[in-house]
Point group: C2
Chain length 203, copies 2
């Protein structure tokens, strides 16, 4: 079976499984399948909570894949730490910073597509139980990637694989597709009081 | 100088430092000092983002202390993972589950006080750059610990030590004392669709 046919078959199986779950409308479902979690909002913690889940997964012996779509937004600390475990974490920092930094949209789109190719490989890897797509929402919001193609690859992933998508401005289609959506809202921020970014906290 | 006098002196220095910062009202402060971050709200990610910050801090070579005040709420995965690094992470799971489970308020209060004694030791340790007080807001909300005493110990910590407090229902006094407050709001949750908790994601 070709890769695309196989992906389509997995997609169909996944959609049927989800529809059955909803149809049953059971309070305490016993079904177990990989969740799509979205962390959005203007507050802090969107990426940090995803990386906390990486630690949690590793504690359960679950292999993890990470793709950071916005290089500039990546925490150097988290990258340095999780790269200590190359057998357990497949860590990829892609992207070349924000568009207003690079001022070259076509280049940004090409970079985002390269990043997605890496993400798709992780989404096709049965051995990986958790895939973190850090700042993917930003790449989608700017139109660097097409939502339909991205969701098709996410929904075609192995049944038990969890996916976490982070970034402010999550598109409606991403929220509709998600199992769990958390909005991180900023209530109060030290920066507003004139405190500079702190190593180990902000980056 | 006695421990309490020393703590009081550090508290005074810290408060003076904060007041100076506010008085200056400078857009780009150059001052660097430990932040008090609060993660509250009914959504997911409050503890996970704190543990993501632990990974970030470890990536920067910063030593970390963790106290989990509600044993039942602790992620077994995060605990299993971070206990791999006893030289870098001082990890303490205290508490005995929620009050409605134990049905013994006096015992819960005693356990919370024991947990706070452990937290205070971390807050007095100059070698620790980040202290995570997981679910502390719950212990405060139930009145297991007194806010004034807790804030005095937090504010008396070493100047460069960061503290993250998690748990829904943060008290106003905690929010007032915080440098950064993030509210995690639940937009959509798989549980509502009848999906059971997933190992590596929910616990």
């Amino acid at each position: 079976m070709s890769e695309s046919a196989e992906r389509y078959a997995r997609h169909q199986a996944r959609m049927a499984r989800k529809k059955a779950l909803i149809d049953e409308k059971i309070a305490q479902a016993q079904d177990e399948y990989g969740l799509l979690l979205v962390h959005s909002g203007n507050g802090k913690g969107k990426s940090s909570s995803a990386f906390g889940m990486v630690a949690r997964a590793l504690g359960h012996g679950i292999k993890v894949g990470v793709v950071q779509f916005i290089k500039g937004a990546a925490s150097t600390g988290e990258e340095a730490f999780f790269r200590r475990f190359p057998e357990e974490v497949s860590y990829h920092v892609m992207g070349e910073g924000f568009t207003w930094e690079t001022q070259d949209r076509q280049r940004d789109i090409a970079k985002a597509q390269q990043a997605w190719d890496v993400a798709r490989a992780l989404l096709n890897d049965e051995s990986i139980g958790l895939v973190v797509l850090d700042e993917l929402n930003i790449a989608l919001k700017y139109g660097y990637l097409q939502l339909d193609a991205v969701l098709a690859d996410i929904q075609a992933r192995p049944l038990l694989q969890h996916v976490v998508v982070t970034g402010r401005g999550a598109l409606d289609g991403m929220i509709d597709a998600a199992d769990t959506v958390t909005e991180m809202s900023l209530v109060k921020h030290a920066f507003k009081a004139g405190v500079k970014a702190q190593k180990g906290i902000e980056f």
